[in-house]
Homo-oligomer: 297 residues x 2
């Protein structure tokens, strides 16, 4: 019997919170100011949607619980590092995130860069710990796919493309699709397929969950863009209308709000289609795509 | 029969150059401007001392050549990423490295931060590729030790401590030792012991090479500080006397040049002592510590 979506989301979030706290309280020789910065930028934050995806897809299979938690934790470390760096003055120059000062505003740029750097490193440290003969190759597959998703042809590549697009007078819908598929899509897709890796699922199941993750990731971004057009600061916990203010092209501005809504529905249908083989075991994942498309913040 | 030190250093350097070029020419979906930045900051640069250490220590054992190369490459990617980020305006604010503009001067801060980020990611991608049942646990050990050496209680922790020391009126010799043991020592120590991991050496051998690496890393830094006092821009390829100009405490300023020279000899003796069990097979490593202590640039 699956728990419902909100319950599972909260469960994943509380587990991540606990695991991050434990990891950042280790008695190694890390300087306290660095640990404080890493905690500030990673604790008490966000929906923890990626960790939820790892848990919810792993639940479709017989997956080792500790490895599910480690993978969720590693992905969230990568996500938090990317937010810290994206917020920097030389990038998006954001002063507010989740209703609080961004890390570079709270401390300073150098500390923020380094806290991001070490959160990235920590992700790979976590996934390479407690290796055994029986889980070794699985861990290496997770590390490799995480690195590819986070790297030059994934998340970081997408951020480079996103910045370049700001200097492009006439970015096309296809350009923006590629930006999102790399910048946010790659990590979400990995989060959605990681459960299949940990569960030792066959390739067909893994590909289906990748497809689900791709649709979900793009839907997430498209809905964000739609909310940016209509949202307000209190609901979003960030500055609204920012994209429009800086004249930034988005999926919505290149499609128009009407077509964007249709496209969003199309993505939702695609995600649901990918879940068909899993039957009612995948109901939580069905609720997740519905939540993403229908949320109001 | 071991080749001599300079020959082996050049061999490691040319192999790294080749492997970096190959890796950064992969046809994935990385944006060209990012690849260009990664190439600028990683090719044609430096002594490649860490890759040399991996090769030279691996040569003491029966080590898999491909894994030696991958490990050397991964370590060099981490080293290059750290230089890019250290040079940033919010950190050391360096405009010159190896006689050329630093990456952020050559491109811009955002691109430099992201090129560093993706060089770090690439290190872990490299080490997690081509896993087999027989090398899996070895690869995971390498990944884990690399992450610990590069992370919050290693290289990044040391950089945080280094910046904090600049605001410390009276840093002590012990504080500066800790900075260097983390900031540069941790990665060099890993480079020196990685060969033992890949060679499947016993723990005694691994500990001996770690000790060698610790002494060598510190000697490297101490000699750098001594050269900073006496060097000139042409020889160093960077701005000399910079530490003294900004009133930065160093191993040399807290010890005095005379005691610093004695300490350097002491480190050299310690490194040579650690190599005793390996007999004449370790002659190249003996030449390496001599080179580090006696170089004039």
């Amino acid at each position: 019997m699956m728990k419902d979506f909100q319950t599972q989301l909260e469960h994943a979030a509380s587990q991540i919170e606990k695991d991050l706290k434990t990891k950042l309280a280790e008695r190694d020789e890390a300087p306290e100011s660095l640990l404080e910065a890493m905690r500030y930028a990673s604790l008490d934050g966000g929906k923890r949607f990626r960790p939820f995806l790892v848990h919810a897809t792993a639940a479709l299979f017989q997956a080792d619980e500790q490895l599910v938690r480690d993978t969720a934790l590693a992905i969230e470390c990568i996500h938090c590092y990317s937010l810290i760096h994206d917020d920097l003055p030389s990038m998006d120059n954001d002063e507010l995130r989740r209703g609080r000062p961004t890390l570079w505003k709270f401390t300073d740029e150098a500390t923020a860069i380094l806290a991001g750097d070490s959160l990235q490193t920590m992700a790979f440290e976590i996934l390479s710990t407690n290796a055994t003969l029986s889980n070794g190759l699985m861990k290496l597959e997770l590390i490799n796919e995480l690195a590819v998703a986070a790297g030059k042809a994934g998340m970081v590549g997408g951020q480079i493309r996103d910045m370049a697009a700001e200097n492009n007078d006439d970015p096309q819908f296809a350009d923006i699709l590629l930006i999102h598929s790399q910048k946010t899509g790659a990590l979400i897709t990995f989060a959605a397929s990681a459960g299949a890796i940990i569960g030792g699922a066959d390739n067909t199941s893994k590909e289906a969950l990748k497809l689900y993750g791709q649709k979900l990731g793009l839907a997430f971004q498209l809905k964000d863009d739609l909310l940016d057009v209509v949202g307000n600061s209190k609901d979003l916990g960030k500055t609204p209308g920012k994209d429009a203010d800086v004249g930034k092209a988005t999926l919505v501005s290149t499609l128009g709000a009407g077509k964007a809504e249709l496209f969003l529905n199309n993505l939702k249908d695609g995600a649901l289609y990918a879940l068909k083989p899993f039957g009612e075991k995948a109901d939580t994942l069905r609720e997740a795509i519905t939540f993403v498309c229908e949320r109001d913040r």
